[in-house]
Symmetry: C2
Subunit: 144 residues, 2 copies
Amino acid sequence: VTPTADAEERYMAALRGSGGRVTAPRRAVVMAFLASGGHVTAEDLAAAVQAEQPDVALSTVYRTMDALQRAGLVEQLHVGHGPAVYHLAEHHHRHLVCQACGRVIDVSEGDFDELVDLVATRFGFILDARHFALPGWCRSCAEA
Amino acid sequence: VTPTADAEERYMAALRGSGGRVTAPRRAVVMAFLASGGHVTAEDLAAAVQAEQPDVALSTVYRTMDALQRAGLVEQLHVGHGPAVYHLAEHHHRHLVCQACGRVIDVSEGDFDELVDLVATRFGFILDARHFALPGWCRSCAEA
DNA sequence: TTCGATGCAAATAGTTTGCATTCTA
DNA sequence: TAGAATGCAAACTATTTGCATCGAA
C-alpha cells in the first residue's frame, strides 16, 4: 500500500462522510490532485483527468474540489490575476506570490506568525493569508 | 476656484498630456471619481455618470480610468473577490481588507514600511500591497 | 481633417448553476 | 430505489476588444 493509496482512501472516506458518494469521476479528480502535489488549477486537474476519461466535465472538478474544501482536506488559493489554485490543507503554510514571475513561495505557519503579530499590534488587524497570497517581488525579480 | 475644480484641471491636463483628448464623457468620469473620494468600482462610476448622461458606456469608464492609471493619477486595487476599486494615487497608502465586513483600512506608506522590512529580512521578499489589499479580519469582526 | 475617443455588441476568463439523466449506496 | 453526482449548456461577473462612427484639436 503506497502512501498515495492511503491518502486516496482518506479522501474517499471524507467524500462519503456527510452523505456523499464515491464515483469514478471523483476518484479520478482526487488521484490527479494527489499526483500533482498541490498548487494546481481546476483546468490543470480537468486536463489530467480527461487524458484518461475524456468526458469528465470541468464543472465536476469544481464540484469535487468544493466538496473536499468543505471536508477541510483542500484549500483554494488566489494568486493575483488568473485562476485559483488548490493545495493540500494539511500543509498549513501561507503563500507569497511574485508579481513578476508568478512563483509561489511557501511560508510555514510558524514563520508567518511573527508577521501576523506585527500587523495585529500595529493595525489591530488579523492578517489571514490563507485564501489570498501576499503579493510582491521575489529576490531575483526584485534585483532585475 | 474650488479645490475640486483645480484637481479636475490637473486630470484634464494629464489626459491631454500624451496626445489624448478631453471629451464630455471623460470629464464626467473624472468629476464622478473626484466627487466619490476614491474606493469606487467602475460600475459605481458608471452609475454616477449615467445619472446625468445616460449613454456613457461602462467601457468608457474602464478606458478613462486606464488612461488615468497610465498617467499615474489613479491606482486600481483588488479587494478580495468582486470588482476592483479605484483610488487616488496621491494617497500613497496601502490597504487591508476585512474578509467579513469588506471594510478597507488605509495604512500610510510609512507605517507599512515596518511590515515590508520584516518580510524582506525574514523571507527575502519585497511585499507590494499597492495593487492587492492584504486580507484578514478587522478588530470588530475578529471579536465576533 | 486627422486620429483619438465613443457606444454598442460580442468576446474573454473563471466559475457557477439548472436540469434531465446516470449510478452509488 | 432514493437521491447524490454527472455532463452539458447556459448563466454569470468583471473586464476587454473590434469596429463603425463621432468629434476634439
